[in-house]
């Protein structure tokens, strides 16, 4: 898992610099947002010349998932107060949730330990590798000549890929992609991406119950 996390972190750091952010902005974004999907989204919108506010909106919506992980974790981690709560919330992400919930349901102690060790471990490794990726990115030349725009597209494809098994989800993915492309000539950059959230709203309005499963990938 740490190897996989490292690959996402390195890619993100390099892509953030290619999108025009500086080293310190990239590191600050990573420490503060600390959620892979939200960070990739932020960088993607900035790289597409979208407004910073569109970047903020897209990153916020991709972070909604983490709120639901907190609901599943709360009974395991209670009581949490003060700095412990500040940190516990910050490391409430896919990886820490997945590891905690993978421990036996009756073993609260190992569920807690799984959460804290994974969360803190990923926090350290992720931010270090985002920094390394950003430093490496500074030494690359013109992003297009190095194919970094294509790398960013491949990264988004790689992030969504593991979620595409169900038929309905494939339809949602296709509809969101088509809507974003159709709106690109008519809306300011960044907003076509944000508008794709409407597809989720319409598709999720009714239907069978689904679970929000944390995945090993940081989205």
């Amino acid at each position: 898992m740490s190897l996989a996390t490292g690959a996402y972190g390195l890619s993100l750091g390099a892509l953030a610099v290619a999108a025009g952010m500086d080293l310190w902005q990239t590191i600050a974004l990573s420490l503060l947002v600390f959620s892979g999907g939200s960070q990739f989204a932020f960088v993607g919108v900035i790289g597409a010349a979208g407004s910073p506010w569109a970047a903020l909106g897209t990153s916020a919506l991709l972070g909604v998932r983490n709120g639901f992980y907190g609901v599943a974790l709360a009974p395991i981690l209670r009581p949490m107060h003060g700095w412990r709560f500040v940190w516990g919330a910050q490391i409430t992400i896919d990886e820490s949730t997945a590891v905690a919930l993978a421990q036996p349901a009756d073993d609260r102690q190992s569920r807690r330990e799984g959460f804290w060790w994974t969360g803190v471990g990923v926090f350290v490794a992720w931010n270090a590798l985002v920094g390394v990726g950003a430093i490496a990115g500074q030494y690359l030349g013109e992003p297009q000549a190095w194919g970094l725009d294509a790398a960013a597209a491949a990264a988004f494809l790689g992030l969504v890929w593991p979620r595409l098994a169900p038929r309905k989800v494939q339809a949602i993915a296709a509809a969101a992609a088509v809507l974003a492309l159709a709106l690109t000539p008519v809306l300011p950059a960044g907003l076509p991406i944000l508008a794709a959230a409407l597809v989720a709203l319409v598709a999720g309005w009714s239907g069978p119950a689904v679970d929000l499963e944390p995945t090993e990938a940081p989205v």
Partner: protein
């Protein structure tokens, strides 16, 4: 708002929003978030936004659609993902394909 300060403000705001979203899950009453409709929409949100990010990143240039070296690059990426290649391999392969095609003069 293209100034560097503007970007800093938004970075800090994105961090604050991310933290409050995570914290809210630990604190709000379960029943607020255990509504099936809310769960479905939240689950689909991730896929919809990532797919839109992919499409815009792969097939647009500014405000218009563009089909260039990136199309071949993401086709290679898709094949590699289907063959279960690791993430970093997929990303680097896409960069190499696009860089090579451009070096060869193919837009």
């Amino acid at each position: 708002m293209s100034s560097a300060w503007g970007l800093w403000v938004v970075i800090v705001a994105a961090g604050a929003v991310a933290w409050f979203t995570k914290a809210a899950g630990h604190r709000v009453p379960d029943r607020w978030l255990e509504n099936p409709r809310v769960l479905r929409i939240a689950s689909y949100l991730t896929v919809a936004l990532l797919s839109a990010l992919f499409a815009v990143q792969a097939f647009t240039s500014g405000r218009s659609l563009a089909f260039d070296a990136r199309v071949a690059a993401v086709a290679v990426a898709a094949v590699l993902l289907w063959r279960r290649a690791p993430f970093i391999v997929v990303v680097i392969a896409a960069a190499i394909v696009a860089a090579a095609l451009r070096a060869a003069g193919w837009s």
